[in-house]
Symmetry: C3
Subunit: 225 residues, 3 copies
C-alpha cells in the first residue's frame, strides 16, 4: 500500500482549528478523520467530536503509521514551532502526512511540498514554490514566482505579490500584504493588516497600522453612512 | 403552504443596492422578485426595473403576506436601524423574510438566523453563529467560533478571525479586519480598512488608517512600478 | 471569419506576467497561445515557453492580423502607458484583441470594453462600466454603479465600493481600497493597501499606511500568538 493510498487521517490537536479542518475534510475531501492526538496533558475526557483521542506519546500504538496519515496541528501556536516539531516527530515515527487542497482554491503550481493545506478561495500563481508543512487559510493570494518556506502559516485574505520570498516558520495574519519582489526572513511575525514594502530580516515582528477610535458615538455617523 | 415554499419576493427599497440584489436573485436563486416597496415619499413614477412598486403603508394590500416574502433593504442606511425597523414591522404584519446564500459562498455553519444574505466568495467557518437580518456582501471571511449579532451589515473583503464577537446593528466597511478573540459591542461603525485589535464597546466609531498623498505627480513613479 | 472566431492568440511581452496569463489561458480558456512578441531589444534566444517569438516591428509578418488576436502585455509597466501604446499600435495594425474572463470570476455587467482580463475570484457588480484594455487580477471587488477607465490595472484583493469612478491608466496595488461614491482621476498610482476615502485628481500618488517594525525578536511574541 502506498502512502498516498491511506485515506484515514489522525488530526494533531483537539483545538478549535482542528474542528475546522475536520469539517473541511468531512465536506470537501475523500480523507476520513478517524481520531485525534494531543499531548497527554491536554487529553479530553472521552472522545473528541465522537472520535477517539490518543496521547501523542502513544499515538503509534493507537494509530499505527501503516494505517493512518497525520495532519495538523492547523495552528501557528508558538510561532509554528509546535507544528514544525510535531511534523518532524511524526516523520521520525514513520508517519506520512496528508495534504488538503480545497477544490475551490486555484493552485497553478506543481511545486508544492509535503503536508500542505490550502483552503477555499486561495490562489497560488504559476512558478511559485510552496514548502513543506505550509498552511494557507481562505482567500489568500500568492503571486507568481514566489517562494514560501517550510512551516509557514498564512491566514485569510493575505496577499503576496509576484516575485517575493517568505522564509520558514513565518506567520502572516489576516489581510497582511507583501509587495512584489521583497524577501522576508525566517520566523517573522507579520500581524493582521501589516503591509510589507521592503525586505525583512529573520525574526522580525511587523504590526499593522492602527485604526483611530473616534471620540463620539456612532449615532453621529448615522446620516453619513 | 409553508413559508419557505413562497418563492415570490418583494424587495424593500428601490435604491441601487436593491437593483444589485434583484440581479443576484435573478441569476443565482429560485426566488422571483415580483415587486418593490418603499416609503410613500420615495415612490417612483410607474414601475421600477419593470416591476410594480407599492408604498410601504399599503404593502399588505398590494402584496399579501400569504403570497410573498420580503427581503431587504440591502443597505446599512442609518446604521442599520432602517433595516432593523423594516424587518420588525414586516414580521409584525405577518410577512416571512427570505434568505439568500450564494452558491459560491461557503457557509460551514447551520447556526444561521432568519433573513440572511451572503454573497459570493464569502466564507463562514464552523461553530459560528449568524444572527437574524444579517447581510454579508462579497468575499468576506467570518472565522470559526464567532458570533455576528442581529441586523449587522458586513461589506466586501471584511475579515473576522476566529473566536470573535460582533454585536447587533454594526456596520463593517470594506476590507475592515477583526483579529481573533475580540468582542465588539452593538451599533459600532467600523469603517473601510479599519483593523480591530482589541475589544470595542457599544456605539464605537473606528476609522481606518489614512493613506498618504505624495506631493508629486505619478509621472515620477512610472519607472518604479 | 469574424474577429471573435479567432482563437489563436499572441501575447505581448515575455515577462513573468505573460507566463502567468499563458498558464491561465491554457488551463481555463479555449484560446491558444501560439507565440509571443516583444521589442526587438528584448528578443530572447530562440523560443519562449516553447513558442516562437517575433519582434514587435515584424509581428504582422510572423502573425498576420487575420490569423491571430493579441493580448497583453499583462503589466502596469510605465503606469500602463506601455500597455496603452501597444493596444493602440496593435489596433492600428489591424489586430483584434482577445478578452479573458475567468469562469470563477462573477461579472454581473455587460458593459465591458474590448480586451479585458478578469481573473478568478473577482466580482464586478451590476451597472458598472469597465473600459477598454482593463486588467483586473484575482479576488478584486468592483461594486455597483462604478466606472473603470480605459487601460487601468487593478491588482489582487482590491476593493472598490459602489458608485465610484476610477479614471484612465490608473494603477491600483494589492489590497487597495476605494470607498463609495468617490471620483479618481486619470493616471493615478494607488499603491498597495492605500485606502481612498475622497476624490483624487489626475496623476495622484497615494501610498498605503506604514506597518511598524517592532524593536524586538519574534521570539517574544511566541506565547501571544
Amino acid at each position: 500500500m502506498t502512502d498516498k493510498a491511506i485515506r484515514d487521517v489522525v488530526l494533531i490537536s483537539t483545538g478549535m482549528a482542528s474542528e475546522v479542518i475536520a469539517a473541511y475534510l468531512d465536506r470537501f475531501s475523500d480523507l476520513n478523520v478517524v481520531g485525534f492526538t494531543v499531548d497527554r496533558a491536554y487529553m479530553p475526557e472521552g472522545e473528541y467530536l465522537g472520535k477517539p483521542v490518543a496521547p501523542w506519546d502513544e499515538v503509534r500504538t493507537a494509530f499505527p503509521p501503516d494505517q493512518v496519515r497525520l495532519m495538523g496541528p492547523p495552528t501557528f501556536a508558538r510561532l509554528n514551532t509546535f507544528r514544525r516539531d510535531r511534523y518532524r516527530e511524526g516523520k521520525a515515527m514513520g508517519y506520512g502526512f496528508a495534504s488538503f487542497i480545497h477544490h475551490a482554491a486555484n493552485v497553478m503550481t506543481d511545486d508544492i511540498g509535503d503536508h500542505v493545506i490550502v483552503l477555499d478561495g486561495s490562489v497560488i500563481l504559476p512558478r511559485t514554490r510552496i514548502g513543506n508543512n505550509v498552511i494557507i487559510w481562505c482567500d489568500t493570494h500568492v503571486g507568481h514566482h514566489c517562494t514560501i518556506g517550510d512551516h509557514t502559516f498564512m491566514s485569510s485574505q493575505v496577499g503576496i505579490a509576484g516575485g517575493s520570498t517568505v522564509g520558514e516558520e513565518c506567520f502572516l495574519g489576516g489581510q497582511a500584504g507583501v509587495t512584489h519582489g521583497v524577501k522576508i526572513g525566517d520566523r517573522c511575525a507579520i500581524l493582521n493588516g501589516a503591509n510589507v514594502v521592503g525586505d525583512l530580516g529573520d525574526d522580525a515582528v511587523l504590526v499593522g497600522p492602527p485604526a483611530t477610535l473616534k471620540p463620539y458615538s456612532s449615532a453621529r455617523v448615522k446620516r453619513l453612512l
